[in-house]
């Protein structure tokens, strides 16, 4: 690795330390800004290659990246195996449904409230559940999932009927709407609709949430999380209250999952009980494993991959020459997609346990040592 001169401990606290890192961040930021402009254009690539679908995939990935980072905070850093992910997505949907759809509370007020609700409910659920370890915790949170599913069904049928909870399109805050950039609709409102506008809502929320979580992880509490994951007796003998700290990790993780549930509900406009199958937690496990375990960047990369890969695969399956003539692939599209991820996980675990982040690091190491690399 290239060395750098550190003259102040403050420099060690920066997330992006070296010049190449800063360059990469600038490039990524530039791409993130250009992305929606490019993929909302009317350009139609040949062979029916998807174009606008990438923007939808990016929005879903942004929402999922918050959930994946939260999942990683709990599983990757604190090593607490909780499978109650979908339960907190339901909690988010219920919070949004109750406040937004029934009481017409603004979307922008619901977001912070959902963080709070998620943290409090997370702590309440964690209080008994975190007395268990490992597989026992998994089973306990398994129960939490089905408990929430029951609550959700009751909630939906008593307030919204049997079909689904519907969400209104949120409005752009007044001060932003008055800047004159937006043209209001017939009723004088500026609604957040369509992938282009949603992208600009989701991107900053995702960036801020993930920045928050990565700060927590690398400073005091996060060190305690990582310590507990490795050696809990020793952690308690450095003065860490193991139960309280686990609870804190659980609450933070639940808070952000709940918020991503709110975002998902508003973005997709309708949620029913079948929107929260138990497998959801597996999808997040896929993101975290493929992206790179115990790495926040990994969680983000994993979420992007999780939504971009099927977009590409769908096209490949249905439009690519030769492949599109294979009947079997068309008949079992979803199953094959999932099987693809299954195979991918095996490949990752066997050959690249570090995931996408690990691949990136080894590439970096390779170029750094060139021409002496092997």
């Amino acid at each position: 690795m290239r060395s750098r001169l550190v003259t102040d401990y403050r420099q060690d606290l920066a997330i992006f330390k070296t010049r190449p890192q800063k360059v990469i961040v600038a490039v990524v930021a530039g791409l993130a800004v250009a992305f929606p402009f490019v993929f909302s254009s009317d350009f139609t690539p040949p062979l029916g290659f998807p174009w606008r679908a990438w923007l939808t995939a990016a929005n879903l990935a942004l929402i999922a990246s918050i959930g994946a980072a939260a999942f990683n905070l709990l599983l990757g850093y604190t090593h607490q195996v909780s499978v109650a992910h979908a339960a907190f997505l339901m909690l988010g949907t219920m919070t949004a449904g109750y406040l937004g759809s029934i009481h017409h509370v603004s979307f922008w007020v619901i977001l912070p409230i959902s963080l709070l609700v998620g943290a409090v409910v997370g702590a309440l659920v964690g209080l008994p559940a975190l007395r268990f370890r490992g597989l026992y915790l998994l089973v306990a949170t398994f129960g939490v999932h089905f408990f929430f599913l029951q609550v959700y069904k009751t909630f939906q049928t008593s307030f919204f009927g049997f079909n689904a909870i519907r969400f209104p399109a949120p409005e752009v805050p007044v001060w932003l709407a008055q800047l004159g950039v937006f043209t209001p609709d017939a009723e004088g409102r500026v609604l957040i609709q369509g992938d282009f506008r949603w992208y600009w809502v989701l991107l900053p929320i995702a960036v801020l949430s993930i920045a928050y979580m990565s700060n927590v992880i690398r400073l005091r509490e996060g060190r305690a999380f990582r310590a507990i994951a490795q050696h809990d007796v020793s952690a308690s003998l450095t003065g860490i209250d193991v139960t309280a700290t686990k609870l804190r990790a659980f609450a933070i993780s639940s808070a952000f999952v709940t918020m991503s549930g709110v975002l998902g509900s508003y973005y997709l406009r309708a949620r029913g009980e079948d929107s929260f199958p138990f497998e959801v937690v597996l999808f997040y496990a896929i993101m975290v494993i493929v992206g790179g375990f115990s790495s926040t960047q990994g969680a983000v990369l994993g979420a992007l991959f999780f939504y971009f890969f099927p977009t590409f695969f769908d096209w490949f399956r249905s439009r690519a020459p030769v492949v599109r003539d294979i009947k079997f692939l068309q008949a079992y599209a979803n199953e094959i997609n999932l099987a693809g991820f299954g195979i991918l996980i095996i490949i990752v675990l066997v050959f690249r346990p570090g995931g996408l982040v690990g691949v990136w690091r080894s590439l970096k190491g390779y170029w750094g040592r060139w021409p002496f690399s092997t």
Binding site: A211, L219, E221, R226, A227, S234, D241, V242, R248
Partner: protein, 263 residues
Amino acid sequence: MTTPILTASDVTVQFGGLRACDGVGFEVTRGELFAIIGPNGAGKTSVLNAITGIYRPLQGASIVYCDRQGRKHELIGMKPHRIVRLGIARTFQNLGLFPHLSVLDNLMLGRYIHQKRGVLSTGLFLPAAVREELEQRESVERVIELLEMAEFRWEQVGSLPYGIQKRIELGRVLTMEPDLLLLDEPMAGMSVEEKRDILRFIFEIQRRLGVTVILIEHDMAVVMSVAERILALNFGRPLTIGTPEDVARHPEVVEAYLGANGG
């Protein structure tokens, strides 16, 4: 005579039918280097585990700790992390480090009890949280300098040699700034040279920083030359307690170490 920093009486730890230690009692004076010796399985580590709240002794035991302000605390029944916050730190016989964290993170964990900023201010990266982090980093760097570990700062602890890891563990308890330090065989498995280094550090900690040290050690030569008072255990029972000369002459100690015919 000042009040003792630690007074243990009638400490009995039992696992099923086995008494790991049986009616152990002793007093440690503030500022002293107190050693606990005994053959393997004599119950030395069990005594430390009872003090730090990992094992719970049977009814009737009492371990009273007197903190810097002169307040007395009964340690039995207290959670380990509470005991640590009173100013008691310990090392482990087979390392209590976090192998996947860097040396710096391990040492920063020693500052955990001295940091106050919670998840809200650290997560939002508020100036107060950053300031606290930098202050703690500076005090950690002083320990890194004292123990001559600057070159390993960013290494993963698990990838370093055993002797260095022992030194890092000593460093971590130092960053905790304890009043009472419990060292469980800090020199086990070390070369003579490494032992000498560790001894030098222990002396520095005790003399210069005024920390009271309870040392468990197998190497008799080391114990006899450094300890001010020694408690000898055998099969969980206290044999004797006294100065190194007294203990070395005690017939039961000689028997425990050298066998029945050794004396």
